[in-house]
């Protein structure tokens, strides 16, 4: 019974995945089409004659109607061929393959950093709700939330890199250059993103935790005389993490957006930076490729988060609660 339910959910999710990917790529195709100027102009620059632009446009296939180009792209993408960049003639699949690990690492480290800060802070704020500590954490959250990422980034560069000399101000060291160097080059960009995620995670955990702490099973635990630490971490944290897990999952997709800014700022060779360049160059198939990968990633992660609920809270597994 449960098996068939899970299968149906999986089938629904896959249908949703296809729908979202179609909608996202079609929309991006349309949006990039609306931008005046195209790859031919971007490649040939400002001294090209109209004839030269026209001939390159033909060669790139840009003169065909948008629907035809989209259908053509989709047919190739369905077979795993994302095409070649107008600008560099490189295979887009290969380009994404080179860049995606950098962005994935950035996002992973960001999430770990944000959670490492938010979980103790959230638990503390809930346990000491309305105390001075709680208010201080609340004020810090508001301050961080209302500061744009690039400001935080530049601030961190000047503070931790230019003044303190602790981390490189920019650039990327590959894993092959050593884990230490790699993590050092990732630290500031990840911290920049994590400082924006931290307040959200902390506030969500705090709210859920306060609700959990008022439930009967906590009362029972207290009555049994368990230590505060055990009650908070063993009994209250897990059932309070459902919303947090959802938001962390959704944010994986949102962080790709943050990566666009942070990768440009710190000169990291991820898909965010690649996307920015592609937009400037009207390299439409590259934009499409990145959007496709991000859309698929987003849906798959949401699916994974859904399945994690059951692990986190047995009540979901047994059909109680939410």
């Amino acid at each position: 019974m449960i098996g068939s339910q899970a299968l149906r959910r999986l089938a629904n999710q896959i249908a949703l995945l296809v729908a979202i990917v179609l909608a996202a790529t079609a929309l991006t195709f349309a949006i990039t089409e609306v931008l005046p100027g195209d790859a031919a102009i971007a490649i040939l620059g400002d001294t090209a004659t109209p004839d030269q632009v026209e001939s390159l446009r033909k060669e790139l296939g840009l003169e065909r109607p948008i629907v035809v180009r989209y259908a053509d792209w989709l047919a190739h993408a369905a077979r795993g061929d994302l095409g070649r960049s107008y600008r560099t003639r490189e295979s887009i699949g290969v380009m994404i393959g080179q860049r995606l690990p950098v962005t994935a690492e950035l996002i992973l480290i960001t999430q770990l950093m944000a959670l490492a800060m938010a979980m103790p802070a959230g638990v503390l704020a809930a346990y000491r709700a309305r105390s001075a500590v709680d208010h201080a954490l609340g004020a810090l959250s508001i301050a961080l939330l209302s500061t744009p990422g690039f400001v935080i980034g530049i601030g961190l560069i000047y503070w931790l890199s230019v003044s303190a000399g602790l981390f490189p101000a920019s650039g990327y060291s590959r894993l092959s250059e050593g884990l230490g160097a790699n993590l050092r080059s990732m630290f500031l960009p990840a911290l920049t993103l994590a400082l924006a995620e931290f307040p959200v995670y902390m506030r969500i955990l705090r709210a859920d935790m306060i609700a959990t702490l008022q439930q009967d099973f906590i009362l029972v635990a207290r009555a049994k005389g368990l230590a505060v630490k055990d009650i908070l971490i063993r009994h209250a944290l897990r059932p309070s993490s459902l919303s947090l897990a959802t938001v962390v999952g959704i944010n994986l997709g949102r962080l790709v957006g943050g990566a666009v800014i942070v990768e440009s700022l710190f000169a990291l060779p991820g898909i965010g930076q690649m996307m920015v360049n592609a937009v400037y160059q009207r390299d439409n198939f590259v934009i499409q490729g990145v959007v496709l990968v991000v859309a698929v990633g987003f849906v798959v992660i949401n699916l994974a988060v859904d399945m994690m609920y059951a692990v986190l809270d047995p009540r979901v597994r047994h059909g109680f609660g939410r």
Partner: protein
């Protein structure tokens, strides 16, 4: 107390010793360039290719001169000098040119550089299939022939006095014919030139690494390695230089140049300029088609204040379209300077209300410039609206003359012709101002038809005067590609194209 004294005393001595050592080291270095080291240079974005047929931007050309040599080069004054070609002969009427190559030069793959390689190069660059941005420089070529083992003769379709400047640019970057055949479409990631450095590795979006060419035909470089690092963010570039993660910033922002000049921590390299910043006017559009309106717009602009506000006064005010690296630089008999009363009078003569749409790049600094210009124009009664465009959009609007007035910049070429002919000749391929003046056409054609520098200078002098009167452009300032270097870097010589010639550069270790 005593301990404190002792400590501070010790540190004073230590500091003094260090300072003395440092001073000694600096003087010693100043005399003796050192071999070795890796130099990292920031560029604004990753390169599209390492194949010269795809080179366009400033960044591309820097990679180009690292990997490839140009046939001719320009010196710190902007004068054309020999390079891979040790000799250049020209017909007095500029209908043919003959170059003689250095003997014994080899590409990085061992292929000898000879006349055949050069001819193959030009055939490739001129092939319309390759869409070289350099094509405009090459269209005047009628034929290219090897007239000796090391001698190449170019016959031109029309007189082409500016042609040598093309050989000092992308069109003159020679690639190995063996490599072209071997790698074919993948040549963009397997570049082989004769240049001072050899391609080693390209980590997309992060860095391009070049290593010293030990068999370089010229002076073998001091540096072991050069790394070009794409860094899109201006502030991050300067912070990286400050943090010691970067040795050189190319094309530094005005704000950072000013800061570096004030705190004296970095070497500021002022290479002079070929480029100008200006307001270009589509003379086929209403109101601005009348020369009185254009003159009023020029007189209404307080260019000195504008330059102070926008560029902190860093760039010189321009009265000609020729930067310091070009001989007709500032060779003009007057230019409309700030005079609001005159502007109002010209507008009164014109008699109708003037409405202007000013197209600007959406970058913050360009928008700020636009707003300052808007205020100045509105003060004399020119109603001004600002339209923001992203760069490709701006180029498209300019190319299709789909604008009225536009804030624009032209990087400039190493010959005066490249800053005027294509823009102001009635048959110019990128005449964006719809400017059409038979007198101008004749001057431009004449300047192409003689290699006599004095005669050409006189012609460009006249051209400058006409431009100052007719104002298809309202000139604002020259644009200098400043570079900033860490104090450990020595030997950078400014050349007006702003590119850094690396063989003479060395680094303390």
């Amino acid at each position: 107390m005593a301990i404190g004294f002792g400590e501070s005393c010790r540190s004073v001595i230590a500091a003094a010793t260090l300072a003395a050592l440092a001073a000694f080291a600096t003087t010693a270095h100043a005399q003796q360039p050192r071999n070795g080291g890796s130099l990292s240079i920031s560029i604004e974005s990753d390169l599209p290719t390492l194949d010269p047929t795809g080179f366009a931007s400033f960044n591309d050309r820097e990679a180009g001169i690292i990997l490839y040599d140009t046939l001719l080069d320009i010196d710190s004054k902007g004068k054309i000098i020999p390079h891979l070609a040790e000799k250049l002969e020209a017909a007095p009427d500029a209908t043919w040119f003959k170059i003689t190559l250095h003997s014994g030069v080899k590409f990085h793959d061992g292929t000898p550089l000879d006349a055949t390689a050069v001819v193959a190069h030009f055939k490739r660059m001129m092939d319309p299939k390759n869409h070289c941005r350099c094509i405009a420089d090459l269209t005047p070529i009628g034929s290219v022939e090897a007239t000796g083992p090391l001698e190449v003769t170019f016959k031109m379709k029309t007189p082409s006095a500016p042609f040598p400047a093309a050989l000092a640019d992308v069109a003159g970057m020679i690639e190995s014919p063996t490599a072209v055949e071997k790698y074919n479409n993948d040549i963009s990631t397997h570049p082989v030139g004769t240049g001072p450095f050899i391609f080693k590795e390209w980590q997309r979006g992060a860095q391009i690494v070049f290593e010293r060419n030990p068999n370089y035909w010229g002076k073998v470089p001091y540096l072991d390695q050069v790394v070009l690092r794409p860094m899109p963010d201006e502030q991050a570039r300067y912070a990286s230089l400050q943090a010691g993660n970067l040795d050189v910033i190319m094309n530094a922002a005005a704000r950072d140049v000013i800061d570096a000049k004030q705190n004296k921590k970095f070497t500021v390299i002022d290479p002079g300029s070929l480029a100008t910043v200006f307001i270009q006017i589509n003379t086929s559009m209403p109101d601005v088609s009348d020369v009185r309106v254009r003159q009023a717009m020029a007189y209404a602009l307080d260019r000195v204040t504008l330059n102070k506000v926008i560029n902190k006064g860093l760039y010189p005010i321009a009265n000609t379209v020729f930067g310091t690296g070009l001989s007709p630089h500032e060779l003009v008999d007057g230019y409309p300077n700030y005079d609001p009363a005159k502007a109002k009078k010209l507008l009164a003569d014109y008699g109708k209300p003037v409405k202007v749409k000013l197209a600007v790049n959406a970058a913050p600094l360009a928008v700020l410039s636009g707003q300052a210009i808007q205020q100045m124009w509105q003060k004399v009664g020119i109603e001004t609206q600002i339209d923001q465009y992203e760069q490709v959009q701006l180029i498209r609007a300019a190319a299709s003359r789909d604008y009225q007035v536009m804030l624009y910049r032209w990087a400039g070429g190493a010959d005066p012709d490249k800053n005027v002919y294509q823009f102001f000749h009635s048959k110019g391929v990128v005449n964006r101002t719809a400017y059409n003046n038979p007198e101008m056409d004749k001057l431009l054609d004449d300047a192409r038809s003689t290699t006599d520098t004095e005669a050409r200078l006189e012609l460009y002098h006249k051209i400058n005067n006409i431009l100052a009167r007719d104002l298809p452009y309202i000139l604002l300032n020259y644009f200098t590609n400043y570079a900033l270097a860490a104090p450990s870097v020595h030997g950078i010589v400014g050349v007006p194209d702003g590119l850094i010639r690396l063989p003479a550069v060395w680094k303390d270790q």
